[in-house]
């Protein structure tokens, strides 16, 4: 009961707050408060919508003014030229802005290079282009659009009250959307994209689709907000709409509040709007501006991750009641089977070129169900490239790859992951802002078949225990040592219930005791029914673990067979140690 009451309290507070704010225009307060709170809601919606793409997924946009401006001009044009009622223009504003987001995203998100600052520049450039087009076409033409004749919908007795209500409804809707996204599969995928997009894709996150969805939501909300704001401002000019300070303030608000948390931007937006209104008196305007600057600097230095994460950390420190993690249900684990006759993986004539470099030239390899195949070869022989090609990280240049008889050669990495192929990275690449548990849960969510959240959590806890990471569930990956991070890689791969597990040098960098431990673990994994292909330099492990060994040299399959025989083959020895030894 107590637990329920604790969980119900924030919900009760939220409901009361929404009710109180909804009733505010009727409370008889001076109309200024309608306007002021409208502006707070306006900035909350704008900052939160920015955070859905830029905070959650880490695609830092400086182009938020573009979508907001599209919304403003959509409403302004529809209401003044065609006398469409304002309320009908808001969905149009949202839709058009979202459409722009989707179109831009469809081009930009296909190019892996366009991340980080290049994405920021691209969105900024788009803003300038859209602004200039609106300025030079009859949409605005330079004269601005004056909306004084547009009737304000009679939602409440006063016009300020009606606009307040529209802003408030949008704000609540935005926060609900942000909350839903943050607690959904989409949000988990976006957080994974934020931390490491390639890994997210290889764990089964449909990154392209998710980014488009986030961009559409983010742009669409900004468009709707712009639609209402057009009514609030009343006289719309290009210079006033597509200002660079709008995206800068949106970023500032999101970051000060905590851009990765659904409620962070709301906190930041409220803080900064109130701050900007604290110094409006004519006598102190300029000094006030400087004080605002100082306060902003201090808050960023003091709370670099934002208010919400800092508050959460503070609460966590105050109440260090350790959460007990235990699986409530033992997960269903496939029983061990002997090596079967069926091929799980069939690689046929696979080639991979990087520009002029031929990394793989015509590799054939079959791997049977339940088998462990060691992949060895000198540096640059194409081992990791083969892993990357099978997992879909690199597109094929030629040849075919089938898993369980289904062709996967042309699929994207997340689709391959969904078909039961999991991989680890030589240098562990955990999602750095997620806890150990969240890392494994994300891999389980996107890797395996759809199943209830509780089941996924239990399974994740099982694999954390299996890899010896129990007790570290709530830690961030940065707090783990290399050995533990490698095991976290394994736990993530296992949580996806792979048919085929690709391990890339899990043993490198471990001390002898850790290596023994890891070898036991890989055996245990096989005992649970997985088929394994692993790249390894450490010969002791290759010989101990492999059923068969495949030797790659200069992008070709050089030898294949039982480990001890292959490793004694003078030709194999020669490529490893140079011809002189073999002679």
């Amino acid at each position: 009961m107590a637990v329920n009451a604790a969980a119900a309290l924030p919900r009760l507070v939220a409901v009361l707050a929404v009710a109180a704010f909804a009733a505010l225009p009727m409370a008889g307060l001076p109309a200024f408060y309608d306007s002021f709170f409208y502006l707070v809601f306006f900035w909350i919606s704008l900052a939160t919508s920015w955070a859905i793409l830029s905070g959650f997924a880490g695609y830092f946009s400086l182009g938020h003014a573009a979508f907001f401006g599209i919304g403003m001009y959509t409403t302004a044009v529809l209401t003044t030229w065609f006398e469409v009622p304002v309320l009908l223009t808001i969905p149009a504003a949202a839709g058009l802005a979202a459409l722009f987001g989707v179109v831009i995203g469809a081009v930009v998100f296909r190019l892996r290079r366009l991340r980080g600052e290049l994405f920021a520049l691209l969105t900024l450039s788009v803003t300038f282009v859209i602004a200039t087009i609106i300025l030079n076409t009859p949409i605005d033409g330079g004269a601005g659009i004056f909306m004084s004749a547009v009737p304000i919908p009679n939602l409440l007795p006063t016009p300020t009250g009606s606009i307040y209500l529209m802003g408030f409804v949008l704000c609540v809707a935005t926060l609900v959307i942000a909350w839903k996204v943050a607690h959904s599969r989409l949000g988990m995928g976006l957080y994974a994209i934020h931390d490491d997009e390639d890994v997210a894709e290889s764990k089964g996150v449909p990154t392209f689709r998710y980014k488009i969805a986030a961009f559409a939501l983010s742009a669409g909300i900004a468009g709707a907000v712009g639609g209402v704001h057009a009514l609030y401002v009343g006289f719309i000019t290009v210079a006033g709409t597509f200002e660079l300070t709008v995206p800068l303030f949106v970023v500032l608000m999101s970051v000060i509040g905590g851009a990765r948390h659904w409620f962070g931007p709301a906190v930041g937006a409220t803080f900064i709007t109130v701050l900007l209104y604290a110094f409006i008196s004519g006598g102190e305007a300029m000094v006030g501006r400087a004080i605002v600057g100082v306060i902003l600097i201090l808050s960023i230095l003091w709370l670099p991750d934002g208010v919400i994460p800092a508050a959460k950390a503070w609460f966590a420190r105050r109440r260090p009641a350790p959460k007990r993690h235990s699986a409530e249900v033992a997960p269903v684990v496939p029983a061990a089977r002997p090596v079967g006759d069926r091929n799980v993986l069939e690689v046929r004539g696979v080639t991979k070129r990087f520009g002029g470099l031929q990394a793989l030239s015509g590799v054939d390899l079959d791997v049977r169900e339940g088998e462990i195949v060691g992949l060895v070869g000198p540096n640059g022989s194409g081992k990791t490239t083969l892993i990357n090609v099978i997992s879909g990280h690199y597109p094929l240049s030629g040849g075919t790859i089938a898993v369980d008889g289904a062709q996967i050669g042309t699929l994207s990495a997340h689709e391959i992951a969904r078909r039961g192929v999991a991989r680890t990275y030589q240098i562990p690449r955990p999602f750095t802002n997620m806890t150990v548990l969240e890392n494994v849960v994300a891999a389980a969510t996107f890797g395996g078949a759809p199943r209830p959240a509780r089941e996924i959590r239990d399974e994740a806890l099982h694999w954390i225990g299996f890899t010896g990471l129990s007790g570290k569930e709530e830690m961030l990956p940065a707090a783990l040592n290399l050995h533990e991070r490698k095991f976290l890689e394994l736990a993530r791969a296992l949580a996806a219930r792979p048919k085929l597990l690709l391990l890339d040098e899990v043993l490198s960098g471990l001390n002898p005791a850790e290596v023994d431990n890891a070898i036991r673990l890989v055996r245990a994994i096989r005992a649970q029914g997985a088929t394994i292909v692993f790249v390894e330099h450490l010969m002791r492990a290759v010989v101990e673990l492999s059923d068969r060994v495949a030797v790659l040299n200069e992008g070709k399959l050089f030898a294949l067979g039982a480990p001890r025989e292959v490793m004694r083959d003078p030709r194999v020895v020669s490529i490893y140690l140079g011809k002189a030894y073999a002679a």
């Binding site: 900024l124 450039s125 200039t132 030079n136 970051v255």
Partner: protein, 283 residues
Amino acid sequence: MPSATLLGQALISGVLAGGMYGLLAMGLSLSWGLLRLVNLSHFALAFLSAYIVYELGTKYGVAPWWSAAMVVPLMFAVGASQYWLFDRFRVNELASLLITFSFAVIVEAGIQIYWTADYRRFETHYATESIKAGPFFIPVLDLTMCIVASVLAWGTWMWLRKTYVGKGLRAAAEDADIAAAYGVDHRKLAYILSGIGAAYAGIAGTFIALIATLAPAQIWAWLGVVFAVVIIGRLGNPMGALLAGMLIGASESLAMAVLSPAWAPVVSFSVLIVILLWDPEWL
């Protein structure tokens, strides 16, 4: 169809105006590329320098090059102290953007309190002089600025490529820990680099004082285009910044000569978008 003289003249003015974009972009590019700090206050420092040059020139009759000799070391000190703050608080890329934005707000307010928001113009007799070359005119001051910018860009580029200090910096930008293992004192280099970046703002400011009319809100007028120039020129590459500046300047100017001038931003930013999507080898 515009005449060849018009096109040629527009190209000359555009390239020279782009020199200012490049000069402003260089300092920004260095700290962004090599220290991973996005210094939005770069523009504020440039305008602060311009106001100081204006003040010294109009009140005390100090020649701008002597003012520059005072302003540049001052800005170096400001840049180095900014780095102290960033280092002390382990500020990341995003936070540096926001902190320096706030810092620029403070500088803007400070300029307005001391110099008022009214327009200031430092009149000099050489501000509008030109060399005649055939049918074309080449403004002396803009040309000087471009030469200074080119020398600085080339010098900085060589310094980064050829000297131990420069190589250390670039190594540290790639991976600070590994560079430290090879004995690169990243901190000391970072102080120097941050100072140099701000010193460039001082140089740019001196030319702004001579070429432009000053108002506090002008700090923000250059932000969008210079930001674009920095990235197109590749982060941390001063030569790239200068060339990208000239490219944008020239495309803007040619657009103004051929189309309605108000369409110019579409042309220059479309050039940017195309370059970003196309990613040509030569960039």
